[in-house]
């Protein structure tokens, strides 16, 4: 289980990384924590011409508050995000979700930017970003730009990032006063990719509800959000969520199973909001 031969370049900055990407041309790939990419290379299910190593770019690491938003550098490890007191205090949804993300060895190496850019349909962070209405910052051959998270996920492992475009950071607006959050996932073993999961943020009459491990990507249920806003019960929200959901089965849960679990999650998470503490 050794990867085929590949080239290696180390980038010193985001700009340097983009420059190297263009210089290498065909077969260039960015390497962050490597927790997904290296496994696929080792299994030889993908081949890399040249890896552009981002892990030494210090300017893409760290968590800070900038005005009314929290900014998380793309190369910040899962472990650092989960440990951050700022995240724990101001973005408890993320802190809660991280309890379920993989295992310590993976969290120590894997990065939040890598996870969001890969867009594994069963990952927790893409759904959390949808629920939190995050903005993705990217830097590419055409320069810097910001992408609203709602426009980011397009399909199975397909994102709005263009060829050579690098995810550099995530900007998460601070939840309004009185905002509430809910998170739950159902996995056969702790730390596994879930059979189904749901991340929810509500503020007053507004709500954002994002499923993961249900479809080909993290996906909001706008039907359930609308129902919730118009005062529907958790059971009614669950009913509309599962009716309209675009579902993808896998080895651990068939399409029917996932549809069923989507309803269970909606009911449970919304009930926990009613009884739970505010965010």
């Amino acid at each position: 289980m050794k990867p085929g031969a590949f080239g290696y370049r180390r980038a010193e900055s985001a700009e340097d990384a983009v420059r190297l990407f263009l210089e290498v041309g065909e077969g260039a790939q960015y390497l962050a924590g490597g927790q997904s990419l290296m496994a696929t290379l080792n299994f030889r299910v993908s081949e890399a011409g040249t890896l552009i190593d981002l892990t030494r770019i210090e300017s893409l690491k760290g968590i800070e508050q900038r005005g009314n938003a929290i900014h998380i550098g793309a190369l910040t490890t899962h472990a650092s995000v989960a440990r951050s007191s700022l995240v724990r205090k101001r973005l408890p949804l993320i802190a809660e979700a991280y309890v379920h993300v993989a295992h310590p060895a993976i969290r120590n190496r894997g990065t939040i930017g890598g996870s969001i850019a890969l867009g594994d349909p069963a990952s927790e962070m893409p759904a959390c970003m949808l629920a939190l209405d995050a903005v993705i910052h990217a830097n590419g051959p055409a320069g810097k730009r910001s992408i609203p998270i709602d426009d980011f996920y397009l399909g199975l492992y397909e994102t709005a990032l263009e060829e050579g475009e690098l995810l550099t950071g995530i900007e998460i607006p601070l939840p309004a006063e009185g905002a509430r959050h809910g998170f739950e996932e159902i996995a056969r073993r702790h730390g596994d990719y879930a059979m189904a999961g749901l991340a929810v943020m509500t503020t007053g009459r507004r709500a954002r509800m994002a499923y993961f491990a249900i479809s080909d990507r993290a996906l909001r249920s706008t039907a359930a959000e609308d129902a919730f806003v118009s005062g529907a019960s958790p059971a009614e929200c669950a009913e509309v969520a599962t009716r309209e959901m675009y579902v993808f089965g896998d080895l651990n849960a068939s399409e029917n199973m996932k549809r069923h679990l989507a309803g269970v999650l909606m009911r449970r998470v919304l009930l926990s909001l009613d009884g739970g503490a505010s965010a």
């Binding site: 289980m1 050794k2 085929g4 031969a5 299994f43 030889r44 159902i186 056969r188 073993r189 702790h190 730390g191 596994d192 990719y193 059979m195 080895l251 651990n252 849960a253 068939s254 029917n256 199973m257 069923h260 679990l261 269970v264 449970r268």
Partner: protein, 790 residues
């Protein structure tokens, strides 16, 4: 508890001493296969069939051979010239058939993952690169996967020379089964069970390093395995090398669970390549090929029918088992033993006057299956205990009470079951009573019932079990397999007073060496740190079977006890002559020759130095032998059976199908306990493996025979977070077949846990009017049973 001869102050038998080898292993100084590196060594990577069933039209290795660092590419046709094919049948499993199996496929690949060529290069990475360039032209054939469809007349045939895909069929009948089922006074229930395929997932994957010396025609295999002497015979026979010139060395082995006791084509092909190329060759399986080539186990579909009379006593049992074993019966133990043990062991704890069993062992295009920890037991226990709960439900009897009244009483041994199994020294009644006490059965039932009212679904599952341990020659030797049923031990006193012992049983991480050291120190009379244990080298240790079927302590341990007692007698004879005493008036205690009251007369070191260096000082005519060897086999019975009882307490989330394991209890009778901590951890580890089979582990195949989850991300082994607290207690009924009195401890947990958990889940689901009988009991299967997912 009464004192025994093992309760002397200097006794190590029965004490929880730390394992002597644990410091070395924890310090990272273990010597596993991949740590081995020899001059001029080549690394092998196997090209494995991507199809479950395909004709190999041609193999073109030109591109692979052009890669720098590649020494050779060998195909099945190259290897068959140096390694002859084998046939994996046992003659005492009458009627079993399996065709000759080449170690690397020659014309047809019959499972996805079967080796078809080997690439030898200066590094594993280069060999992997080159392996992708070997161009194999396959002509895919229809794959036969479902075991029932495999037996249908229109099914494609896996072996062209055979008239069907049946490997073996066995029928057994005793007593009037039909009359019992027809009697209107009896209550009759019937259930079907499905058991998924799973595999062993050893921490250290399989592997070997082979070196061949053409000058002396000697083959040495460094081998991660459980039965070095068996592999020695296999190598000699199939490579045509005199057996005495084959040496098999097993240093540290990182887990085996029965996976590493079989003949694997890839491993023997490594020896063939070493002989052909005259260079050392290393093979270390990676995780992907472990899933595709380690033996799988289980995959049974069983129908069971049982009858009890008005008093709740079992009257008859009918078992029909079909099991899929892949395309070949595995050499030399055969793939018939698992099903055979299902037929032999179902109902073993109980008195059952009439029994009918049918077993069909079926070829299919999947990875071969063979003996894996608790061979056949989890199926035999789960189906019987599932039926017991069904009978309890049908008659309104408490499940524990129904078991109690049907168990073979502790004072009724020896007892022969309807299948003809001879049982002795078992303690089912004591174990069940202790289990119910340990778990506080009545309080637990009340808690379960109280919570049901609140919509919390908890269940209790109970299992009584019998396990095959300490097998005699009737297991394999009688069937023509080159597998020793006896084990040998030698004990030698050196000039410093240290005791060097060697044994033919093997250490795979479970503490064999510790157990042997305790028996040796105890039997001879020295401190534990004066004992040095050698296992796992056919050039050094006495001849014997190795460690499998829970035979290490019972057979290897008894041989060690007898060897050390013999050495003690020899040493005392010399000491008596020197000290002018009678041997019977002396003892050995903590490294010194003493009077019977413990008064020290001389140290062993002083005696040994006198004997070894200054023999001139010894009385005339005395020529001491400070080495002794003894062998031991079980002779009067085919097996020394072990027994126990187990219970599981679970909660089922009826929304998600997730089973939460709340608690697990085991009461086990392994006879004499040598090291309680090691026994307890054997049982706990076994329970966890049983939990794997019950809830998580399954080799998932597509209809065309592709293994879909061959990675640690997709194949779910049980992990610590989900494991319950496992409480263990013991009943001790030493076996009367040996002086040591030890029975085997390795099967218990795995044997009973799946049945206990299945019964607990079904007890939890009972108020909802449904049940599940398919393992692993995944969340989706549970929700399908509940009818909430379709």
């Amino acid at each position: 508890m009464t004192l025994t001869k093992y309760d002397r102050p200097n006794s190590y038998i029965g004490s929880r001493v730390p394992r002597p080898n644990i410091t070395r292993l924890m310090a990272g100084r273990g010597k596993y296969i991949d740590d081995k590196s020899l001059p001029r060594m080549l690394h092998v990577v196997f090209v494995r069939s991507p199809f479950a069933h395909a004709r190999i039209v041609s193999i073109d290795a030109t591109a692979a051979l052009a890669v720098e660092g590649v020494a050779s590419v060998l195909t099945g046709r190259d290897i068959v010239d140096v390694v002859s094919p084998w046939v994996g049948v046992l003659t005492h499993l009458s009627g079993m058939r399996s065709p000759p199996q080449p170690c690397v496929a020659t014309d047809t690949a019959r499972w996805q993952g079967e080796p078809v060529a080997m690439v030898l290069a200066s590094s594993r990475a280069i060999a992997e690169d080159a392996a992708t360039l070997v161009d194999v032209d396959y002509d895919p054939l229809d794959a036969v996967c479902d075991m029932e469809e495999a037996l249908e007349p229109r099914s494609p045939l896996i072996h062209p020379g055979y008239d069907s895909n049946l490997c073996w069929e066995r029928k057994v009948e005793a007593g009037d089964v039909d009359a019992a089922f027809a009697d209107p006074a009896n209550t009759v229930v019937e259930r079907s069970f499905d058991f998924g395929r799973h595999t062993g997932v050893t921490l250290e994957p399989r592997g070997c390093v082979c070196e061949y010396d053409p000058a002396e025609d000697r083959m040495t295999m460094h081998y991660s395995g459980q039965a070095p002497h068996m592999i020695q015979v296999v190598l000699a026979k199939h490579l045509g090398i005199p057996e005495g010139r084959v040496r098999v060395i097993s240093d540290d082995v990182g887990g085996s669970f029965g996976i590493k006791v079989h003949t694997y084509g890839d491993e023997i092909a490594v020896a063939g390549a070493a002989k052909l190329l005259k260079r050392p060759v290393k093979f270390a399986a990676d995780r992907l090929e472990s899933f595709q080539s380690d033996i799988h186990a289980r995959e049974h579909r069983v129908r069971v029918k049982a009858a009890i009379n008005g008093e709740g006593l079992l009257q008859a049992l009918d078992v029909d088992d079909i099991t899929g074993i892949g395309p070949y019966s595995v050499y030399p133990r055969s793939s018939g033993i698992e099903g055979n043990q299902v037929i032999n062991l179902t109902g073993a704890p109980y008195r059952i006057p009439a029994y009918r069993g049918r077993l069909r062992v079926v070829f299919q295009n999947k990875v071969p299956t063979c003996q894996y920890r608790a061979v056949g037991h989890p199926i035999a226990m789960a189906i019987m205990e599932g039926v017991m709960d069904e009978l309890a439900k049908a008659t309104g009897c408490d499940p524990a009470e129904l078991r109690r009244i049907n168990l073979v009483p502790d004072d009724a041994y020896p007892h022969v079951s309807a299948q003809g199994m001879k049982f002795a020294d078992l303690s089912h009644q004591k174990c069940l009573a202790k289990l119910l006490d340990l778990m506080d059965y009545e309080a637990l039932k009340q808690e379960r019932d109280r919570l049901r009212g609140r919509g919390v679904y908890r269940g209790i599952g109970i299992v009584s079990m019998v396990e095959v341990t300490n097998p005699s020659p009737m297991f394999y030797g009688v069937g023509g397999a080159p597998i020793a049923a006896q084990d040998g031990a030698s004990a030698r006193l050196d000039a410093s007073g240290a005791l060097h012992v060697a044994s033919s049983i093997t250490e795979q991480g479970q503490g064999t060496d510790a157990m042997l050291a305790q028996i040796a120190a105890d039997g001879f009379g020295v401190d534990l740190d004066m004992v040095h244990v050698k296992t796992g080298d056919t050039a050094v240790v006495p001849y014997g079977g190795g460690t499998w079927a829970s035979r290490g302590a019972g057979i290897g341990g008894e041989a060690m006890l007898q060897a050390c007692k013999a050495l003690k007698a020899q040493v005392l004879e010399a000491a008596a002559a020197v000290l002018q005493a009678k041997p019977g008036a002396l003892d050995i205690f903590r490294g010194a020759v003493t009077d019977l009251d413990g008064t020290e007369r001389m140290t062993l070191a002083d005696l040994a130095r006198m004997v070894y260096y200054r023999g001139n000082e010894l009385p005339a005519g005395l020529s001491p032998e400070f080495i002794a060897t003894r062998h031991y086999k079980v002779s009067d019975v085919p097996f020394v059976f072990t027994n126990g009882a187990m219970a599981s307490y679970v909660e089922v989330d009826t929304d998600t199908g997730i089973v939460k394991l709340l608690k697990h209890w085991v009461v086990e009778d392994v006879g004499t306990i040598i090291n309680e901590q090691l026994v307890d951890e054997q049982i706990r580890g076994g329970v966890v493996q049983g939990i794997g089979g019950a809830l998580y582990e399954e080799c998932v195949y597509s209809d065309d025979g592709q293994l879909l989850n061959a990675s640690m991300a997709d194949y779910l082994v049980p992990m610590s977070v989900e494991m319950p607290d496992i409480e263990i207690a013991h009943v001790m009924t030493p076996t009367s077949t040996s002086e040591l009195g030890a029975k085997g401890a390795g099967e218990a947990g795995t044997a009973g846990a799946p049945g206990a958990i299945m019964n607990a889940v079904n007890d939890a689901l009972a108020p909802l009017g449904c049940s599940i009988s398919k393992m692993p009991m995944s969340p989706e299967r549970i929700l399908r049973a509940l009818g909430t997912v379709d």
